[in-house]
Symmetry: C2
Subunit: 127 residues, 2 copies
């Protein structure tokens, strides 16, 4: 069903500092940076093999990531799995994710406390 861990989402309080940490200290190349208004974040993708760390900086306190940081502090936010057709797996319409991917989120209440994202990369579809 899932092809890979597409990315691990990490909530951060300072995007530039986090990019420097992951690229300099952990040797992960910065591959992409984008404001994803639909998710209320400015995000950066750092490469790890065929997967990514997705750094998430909230655009405001009342965004999902802003509330997450206020409650739990910066750190692991969600995990995302790559699939060929998000729409096949959910009951609703997928929405736009970073780099024009199609994404859907599964609520932590249904996945043992883990916010889980399904990602269909742009240009990939089984239909």
């Amino acid at each position: 069903m899932f092809e890979a861990v597409d990315h691990v989402g990490v909530a951060v309080e300072d995007l530039d500092a986090a990019i420097e940490l992951y690229s300099e200290s952990l040797g992960m190349p910065l591959q992409h940076r984008e404001t994803v208004s639909e998710q209320g974040v400015e995000a950066a993708l750092l490469g790890v093999g065929d997967s990514h760390v997705e750094l998430l900086f909230p655009l405001g306190d009342e965004t999902p990531v802003g509330r997450f940081i206020a409650k739990r502090g910066p750190g692991l936010h969600h995990t995302a799995y790559r699939c060929r057709d998000v729409a096949l797996l959910i009951d609703e319409q997928p929405r736009r994710g970073i780099r024009d991917s199609r994404v859907a989120f599964l609520h932590p209440a249904s996945t043992g406390g883990v916010l889980t994202e399904l990602v269909q990369p742009a240009g990939e579809s089984s239909s």
Copy 2:
């Protein structure tokens, strides 16, 4: 430096129920189950492409994962990156991880709040 997201570690309160959730609902095959005394957990690996979800059930309340669940509830615990030689990257000796891997943990204080594990699979070494 890192070849892949080796696994995403998830703290769980009921290992059998979590295995059922990930294998039945999310379609990830159970590939391995082991008590890792060194880390105070019974762990299970579920396959996602070349990566894994690692479910972590604490062997006691005073283990690291037991304390994590008491404080934050079940959910995302750590993220692990695969590398060829853990010992090259750290100042101390790596320890034994699941499936005879060699592992080291980077403290969240040095990685933006994310407990980070480095994993050298058994049998892989650059030396």
